[in-house]
Amino acid sequence: MIDGLLVGSVYGLAAMGLSLIWGVMNVINLTHGAMIALGMFGMYVLFGAITGHPYVLLLPEIGVGLLLGVVVYWVAIHWVIGRPMLMSLLSTFAVNMIIIGIGTAVWTTSPYNVNFNLPGLTVGSYTFTGNHIAAAVAALILALALDLFLRRTRPGKAIRAVSDHREAAELMGISSTTVLSIAFGIGIAMAIASGALVATLFPFTILSGGTYQLKSFVVTVLAGLGKPLGALVAGVLLGLLEGAVTPFMAASWIPLIEFTLFVVVLVAFPRGIFGKVAA
C-alpha cells in the first residue's frame, strides 16, 4: 500500500511530462513511452559506465532529455502544431517507432536491470525498499521544482502565457515557437527522468515504456489537462490503487481496473477530478 504510494509518485512524474505537453501545445505526445524507455536505458548505460550514484545521474539524463525534446520538437512537432490532432499523433507515433526500433536493435527486447540497492527502512513489521523511497523523494522534488518553475519564474510564466493565448504572447514579444520547443523539452525531460527512476525499481525492456505511457494517460485524464501538480497527486492515487489491489488479485488485472477507471472518469468528470467546471 505505502509502496504503491511511493511508486505512484514516479507515475505522477511521468504523467506531468505528458500533461504539460498536452496542455500547452495540444499535442498528445506518443513518444512518451519511448522516452521513458530511453530514460531507463540511459540510467543503465550511465550507471554501467560511470558507476556514479543513480540519483546524481538523473541530472545528466534531464539535461539530455531537454536537448532531445527540443530536437524532436523541431523535427516532428513544429510542422504539425495547430493542425488536426491526427497529424501530431501520427508524427509522434513515427518518432516513437524510430526510437523503439533503434533501441531494439541496440539492446534487443530482453530485460535489463540497474543493479543498485539502498538499505531499506523498517517500521514495525513492515520494510520499505530503499530504492522506492529514494525514487519517490526524487520524483517529488522534480515535480515540485517543475511546479515552482511554471508558477514563479519568467520563462515558466511565458510557457503559461503561450498556453493561454499564443497570439497574444507573440504580441508581448514572446517567441512562441521557442517557448513551445522548451516546454516540449521539459516534458520529455520529465519522461526520461521518470524512466530513469523506474529503472532503479524494476527490471525493464525497451518496450516497457508503453505500460508507463498508458498509466500516464490514465493519470493525466484523472488530473485534468495542464495541471502538473494535479498529475502528481493523481499518479500517487493510481499507485495507491495498485498497491491496494495487488494483495487481492493477480497483477494482470491492474490494467483492466485502471482503464475501467479511465472510462468512468472520462464520463463522470470530463475535465478531470481536479478540473474546474468553467475554465
Binding site: 510564466k157 497570439e167 497574444a168 507573440e170 504580441l171 508581448m172 514579444g173 514572446i174
Partner: protein, 237 residues
C-alpha cells in the same frame, strides 16, 4: 520629421480573401492617429498586418526609419511596436500582475519593468487592488484596463489600440479616452482604431478613414470632422 511608423501600400488578407488593397499610413511621433471606418473596412487587419500577426502580401512597413516588413510579431514587439488587440486577448489563467509582467517580457521593456508597473497601477488603481486575481475574473472594463496596462508595460514606441470602447459602458469609455489623452500628453505615440467616430475625431490629431480596404479620406481630425461625407456617413448628421 520622419514618421515613427510608416506603412506603404500594404496588401494583405486571410487565406484567399484579400482585405487590404494598398493601404498607406504615416504615424507621427507624439501624435494620436485614429483609423475609423465601417465594419469590414480593414481597420483591424491594418493593425494586425502592421504588427505581423497577419503577413503582408505586398508593401513595406517601417518602424523608426528601419524596414520591419518581414519581421514576426514578437520581433516587432521587441522593438516597441505594441498592439492592444481587439477583444483584449488577456492570459486568462495568469493573475493580473502576471499579465502585466508578460507585458514587460522583452529585453527592452524589462529594464523599466518596475517603474512601468508603478505607473500602470497609478493609472489604473483598480488593477492594483486585484493584482492577485486571475484575469478571467475581471469585469469587461477592468479587462480593457489590463489590456492597456499590459501594452504600456511594453515600453511602446508606437501604441496601437484596437477597439478601445468595444462592449464598454459609456462612462468607462469616457474614462479610458481621458487616460489616452493624458498618455498622449506624456508624449506616447498612439494609433487608435475606434468605432465611436465622434469620440475618435474629437480626441485625435490625425484621422484616416478606411472603406473596403483602402484609405478614402485622410487629414487633420478637425478638418475631417467638418467634411460633409464624413458627417453624413459616420456621424449621422
Amino acid at each position: 520629421m520622419a514618421p515613427v511608423l510608416q506603412i506603404e501600400k500594404i496588401e494583405s488578407g486571410y487565406g484567399e480573401v484579400q482585405v487590404l488593397w494598398g493601404i498607406s499610413l504615416e504615424v507621427e511621433a507624439g501624435k494620436l492617429t485614429t483609423i475609423v471606418g465601417a465594419n469590414g473596412a480593414g481597420k483591424t487587419t491594418t493593425l494586425r498586418t502592421a504588427m505581423g500577426s497577419v503577413r503582408p502580401w505586398h508593401g513595406r512597413i517601417f518602424l523608426e526609419g528601419e524596414e520591419v516588413t518581414r519581421l514576426s510579431a514578437h520581433a516587432k514587439a521587441g522593438r516597441g511596436l505594441v498592439l492592444v488587440p481587439e477583444g483584449r486577448q488577456l492570459f486568462p489563467t495568469l493573475s493580473v500582475e502576471e499579465n502585466l509582467e508578460m507585458g514587460g517580457y522583452s529585453t527592452r521593456a524589462r529594464k523599466r519593468q518596475r517603474a512601468n508597473l508603478e505607473r500602470v497601477y497609478e493609472l489604473f488603481p483598480r488593477l492594483k487592488e486585484r493584482r492577485k486575481q486571475r484575469s478571467s475574473t475581471l469585469s469587461g472594463g477592468e479587462q480593457q484596463m489590463l489590456a492597456m496596462g499590459r501594452g504600456l508595460m511594453q515600453e511602446p514606441v508606437v501604441l496601437m489600440i484596437d477597439e478601445l470602447s468595444l462592449g464598454l459602458a459609456p462612462v468607462l469609455t469616457q474614462q479610458l479616452f481621458l487616460t489616452l489623452k493624458s498618455l498622449r500628453g506624456q508624449g506616447i505615440t498612439i494609433v487608435l482604431v475606434e468605432q465611436n467616430v465622434h469620440l475618435a475625431l474629437a480626441l485625435s490629431d490625425y484621422t484616416y478613414v478606411l472603406a473596403e480596404g483602402r484609405v478614402t479620406i485622410q487629414g487633420e481630425s478637425r478638418q475631417v470632422a467638418q467634411m460633409d461625407e464624413v458627417r453624413r456617413a459616420y456621424l449621422g448628421l
